[in-house]
Symmetry: D2
Subunit: 243 residues, 4 copies
């Protein structure tokens, strides 16, 4: 039975972008496997996907822990189905001047952004390489492309993740695995950003801030591409963005 | 009646990529307006779109000539309908060492790649700005990103076109016009490239060379994005590409 | 006698950066050949270099005119000496929205930024290739790297020039010719910019705006590099710059 | 007495590039403080600098260890002099396919390339910020700019280091501290690379491979720049390089 399910695994499926991506792939018949490190809300996400007629499974897994990652992938491949789509969406955005960045913060942000990406991607890639197909999508940010003031930790992690995505694309592409990196240029519309930047939202109006479901559409479009014309990097930003 | 047609205008609609893009948008109900500077085959392209149940119109227009461009846009907007999608797809790929590049070649390649893009885009942008919506898509190449040996003329033109697309995106985006640049990294599968690089094709097998219709799908996907998450630059290449 | 002079040719030797570069190389024993299209001040520049103990020659030459360029290089190589250093420093910075950019402006800016660079570089490269050594330095700008709003013409020209510099570097480098591109990120301290942006200058204080002689030092440093470790692209900006 | 010494600190002063940079600054009157994690040869390096008439001090310090870094900087500033120039030159180049990259390797390479850079730079920056001047130079590589096949670990670390250099430049520049990143594009001429790539060396001839002392010259040139025109990123490669 497991063999019949196509799985879309979303590592770091928070309430917004990760959830929207999971929903988007569930709508197309994938069993959405969604993970978080801890916290509540995972059941609600699974339930909301099921209520919409989709299939979903929730897993608590520390994406930075090699053993938990191995167990997660083992469990999903054994009990749910083959991971056809892998989305790495763990965040880690913090802002500190370099002089105020503790070693602990610098290290943790890298663990979340890059090490976790490496651990999960490597484990999934092993399975995809055996099958000769699959899609791996990485969530990038403005900080993936430039080290702005205040972002030594976050841009360090995101730059490393981008490098990983490029190496994976070059190594796995010829084996039929589509690896892409989506650069999300701007804050996403979430409860947190609405509270943090009320004036920003007010000024920008509808569609002026990145909506999770609109971004998710691009993840789906990338997965849908034919192998003669695969995208590797796509940037997305609101129409009003100044960049 | 004209007002009811949504037009997708493809400047430089050769037999391959331009034709495929025109077909893709025609399939969605757009009236495909396709242009070439001269030569045969335009009627065949129009006929093939109509045979598939779509609407199309062919125009001979020298994309580098300001007056012809003005007339073309005037005619289409007056007689066919509002240009909702604009695709600039004029080629210009030549390879010469700098020392063997004549002033005529250097100038003509720029006229085809960049000046023609500017002339057509500016004219269409005027109309789109009045309406407050529209999509402008530019065909880029590997040479848009790097000046390789032998490509001073072509990469000069393509770099300039990329700069134009960026300026347009920043100027017109906030007015509701989606401007994007597609970097096509590798040769497209055409009669000419098949003849030019037979070993390349043989070695790569199916899907190993960029197919026009697969690329066209990405043009459609970009047009379909919601304004909260517009892409500006997307690179596409075959899964086997070494880059 | 001509054969004994080492020439540093500066195309576009205005009163500021071009003049400073000419002075810097003259100080090292080069005969500075400085060109402008027209206008006064060339004699003053030559005189100021000679007063400082250097050698200089002034030439009026339209850098966009193939015949004038051929004649210029012929004259210098025949009457002054071998061009050991070539600096392309023609400006062209204008700012217009795309919709307000005339075809004439778009074309002229490209002629100044890119075509002139091509014509002069090609002519000089022919001589350098025969000799197997030489240095070619191109003045870039922020607009060489991004197409900002208002800069479709200027960034088009500057992007094309950057592509040219890259192609030249790749083609001529293995023959012993060092080609580099200097990205000048910010306004240079000139009478014009002081008048245009008085508050900018006031706010930034000494060293807060790019000084021609400080930039010139980097041109000299690039020329001085050993061939095992040549730079191709160097960006310079004031220490207070926000970028 | 300590206060009178200007210190150039080179973290990761191996026998080649790090040593050459130390020698270059020692020649200009800096006291070269050179560090390695362990191994022999440090005394020889110090002796060779002293034999040439310079001043040097050697330190064993694990650049990845926060406590050792704090102690190192404390000792140098207290006993030798103010660190005026900081060079981060720790390597970490390994090549493995992603699937063969162990978690230990991925982590260690990041610790060497990025964490060590962060720890040392932060500690030195605190002192430089108090003084309002200083130069910080980071050694980059081709892998700083692209994630090639086989380089997920190394390019991850190097991308993160580049992000750090950018954040530092933007945060510290306005306080008078010059931060730059040197992209070394190609293998450096060392005993190890000569043994590893004998054909590469044979084919390229003299000057065909990056010489440590030639690269060091560029570190010195960057340090010598005036604050109105500081470089942030400089790429260096041999004249014969294909890139």
């Amino acid at each position: 039975m497991a063999a019949e399910n196509k799985v879309a695994l979303v590592i770091g499926a928070g309430d917004y972008l990760g959830a929207a991506i999971a929903r988007r792939f569930a709508r197309e018949g994938f069993t959405a496997c969604v993970t978080r490190r801890r916290g509540e809300g995972l059941d609600d996400l699974v339930a909301s996907i099921e209520d919409a007629g989709g299939a979903a499974r929730g897993f608590y897994s520390d994406a930075r822990d090699e053993d938990q990652v191995a167990e997660l992938i083992e469990t999903i491949e054994g009990e749910v189905g083959a991971i056809e789509v892998f989305v790495f969406n763990v965040g880690g955005n913090v802002k500190f001047d370099v002089l105020d960045t503790t070693t602990r913060v610098y290290t943790k942000v890298w663990q979340m952004c890059a090490l976790a990406g490496f651990l999960n991607a490597r484990e999934v890639a092993r399975r995809m390489m055996e099958r000769g197909h699959g899609t791996m999508l990485f969530t990038g940010a403005t900080a993936s492309l430039r080290g702005a003031a205040g972002f030594s930790a976050f841009s360090g992690g995101k730059h490393a993740l981008r490098a990983l995505a490029q190496s994976l694309a070059r190594e796995l592409g010829p084996n039929g695995i589509h690896v892409a990196h989506v650069v999300i240029d701007g804050p996403i519309d979430t409860a947190a950003t609405r509270e943090l930047f009320p004036e920003y939202f007010a000024k920008r109006g509808p569609d002026g801030v990145l909506k999770p479901e609109d971004i998710a559409e691009t993840y789906w479009a990338i997965h849908s591409q034919s192998p003669s014309a695969w995208a590797h990097e796509v940037d997305v930003r609101p129409y009003v963005e100044s960049w």
